[in-house]
């Protein structure tokens, strides 16, 4: 892979540029594999520091919320879990929903960091898939066989951020869309009711 990086990169860049002109005339510079990988390197470095810091569970949840808020596109994840119902939400409701959603995700998944204590995440590779980049990381936990996590990275928000996590084909965004949909149903379709539930859930 590294034997002839220059010509390969030139080729990739030319190909990408040609595709870009056709597909995204407004975007000036496309997300590249090294940039997507950089982002996830930082995420993984932060997560590794947290899971090996022997902090309390609530401190870990706070750390996780900070990492999620900083490197993930919480806006687009929240909006897409609300799906078509985001059309009838006011701007103010969307903002409160997004805030509540961020806290909910941090509590729900931050809790599980307990299982990661003493473990290690390592970035293994990156490739372009459709309109985004997929960064592959390996998670090694004590007492179980290693598994793979895919971070989906996009710059379509204007910044390089990840918008999904996929493990064994299971997408966090799609699973949470089901969950948010169920909460909305439980509240008879009321977005304010959903926001209240979300603040308590996770």
């Amino acid at each position: 892979m590294t034997s002839n990086p220059l010509s390969r990169r030139t080729l990739l860049a030319t190909g990408a540029a040609a595709g870009l002109v056709a597909a995204l005339p407004l975007s000036a510079v496309a997300l590249t594999e090294p940039r997507a990988r950089d982002l996830i390197d930082k995420v993984v470095e932060d997560i590794n520091r947290v899971i090996n810091s022997s902090k309390s569970q609530s401190a870990m949840i706070n750390e996780f919320e900070r990492i999620f808020g900083r490197y993930a596109d919480v806006n687009i994840i929240a909006r897409s879990t609300l799906g078509a119902d985001s059309r009838r939400a006011s701007a103010a409701q969307m903002r409160t929903f997004t805030d509540a959603f961020e806290g909910y995700i941090a509590r729900k998944y931050g809790k599980r960091f307990r299982e990661f204590i003493g473990g290690m995440i390592e970035v293994k590779g990156v490739r372009q898939v459709k309109s985004w980049h997929e960064v592959r990381a390996q998670v090694v936990l004590r007492g179980s066989s290693p598994f793979e996590v895919l971070f989906l990275v996009s710059d379509r928000s204007g910044r390089d951020l990840f918008f999904d996590l996929v493990i064994e084909g299971v997408s966090l965004r799609l699973s949470e869309r089901t969950e948010i949909g169920s909460m909305l149903d439980r509240n008879g379709g009321s977005i304010d009711g959903l926001i209240n539930d979300l603040r308590r859930a996770g």
């Binding site: 909006r79 059309r87 898939v129 996009s154 918008f163 089901t178 169920s182 909460m183 149903d185």
Partner: protein, 249 residues
């Protein structure tokens, strides 16, 4: 058999065109929910306590060995399915794995094949074979005891009971060892992944919907031999009624 297969392929319900391909097609939701309630009470009263007890009582090493033993016994089934899928390489690799683990690995209790860095097991089953042959996954079904499935996989499970060569080669009671080991390793997983399974069954807003979503996503990934499913770009989603950028607010 051929007639049965033709029936199986044709019987999988077709989702209407308006149905989102990211979600499972679920026309039998009402009866599925009844089965789900049954499964949930079965889990709460029997499987969960038994799994936790089993995981607590059994040393981890022995649980692992039983899990490996059960998995090894499923390999001949994968070989048959690889052949049916025209995946001769997978069939050969799985055969070597079975051979090595059944001998050097003491009937599969150990896994020297992985330690020797042999290719990963394909874990092919008849549901996957049907996918390769072009069958639709059909409607979502929650089966009693077994849990989430769909029409294609349910049919696959039944066929796999008959295509495992071991069930023809072994006499009673040896032929039951595999079943006992599978049940044990199932209990062991229930105990070991207790937090994950509990969070789906008892902490989600709608455990039926969540189990359906997780099963469908994971199963689609598996039948495609572990390649990513048909995710769509959320930035393309027409969820905003205006074409205004959601970041402009």
């Amino acid at each position: 058999m051929a007639l049965l297969l033709a029936f199986g392929l044709a019987a999988c319900a077709k989702a209407p065109a308006s149905h989102s391909p990211e979600e499972a097609y679920d026309p039998y939701e009402a009866s599925n929910r009844e089965v789900h309630a049954l499964n949930q009470s079965l889990d709460r009263n029997l499987v969960r306590p038994a799994g936790k007890g089993y995981a607590a009582f059994m040393p981890d090493d022995i649980e692992d060995a039983i899990g490996r033993f059960a998995f090894n016994l499923s390999i001949p089934r994968s070989v048959v399915n690889n052949v049916l899928q025209g995946n001769m390489r997978g069939a050969t690799e799985d055969s070597y794995r079975f051979l090595v683990n059944s001998t050097v690995g003491l009937l599969g209790l150990f896994d020297p094949a992985t330690e020797m860095r042999m290719p990963e097991a394909t874990d092919a089953d008849f549901g996957q074979t049907l996918h390769v042959w072009g069958a639709r996954e059909g409607a979502y079904i929650e089966l009693p005891v077994i849990g989430p499935s769909n029409e294609r996989d349910t049919f696959g499970i039944v066929v796999d009971l008959f295509t495992n060569p071991l069930s023809y080669l072994l006499d009673d009671p040896e032929s039951y060892y595999g079943t006992v080991a599978s049940v044990s390793s199932g209990l062991s997983n229930r105990g070991r992944y207790s937090d994950t399974i509990d969070s789906i069954l008892y902490e989600s807003a709608d455990s039926y919907a969540q189990a359906k979503s997780l099963y469908t996503q994971n199963r689609r990934f598996e039948v495609k031999g572990g390649s990513a499913g048909a995710l769509s770009d959320p930035y393309d989603a027409p969820f905003s009624n205006t074409l205004k950028d959601p970041y402009d607010e």
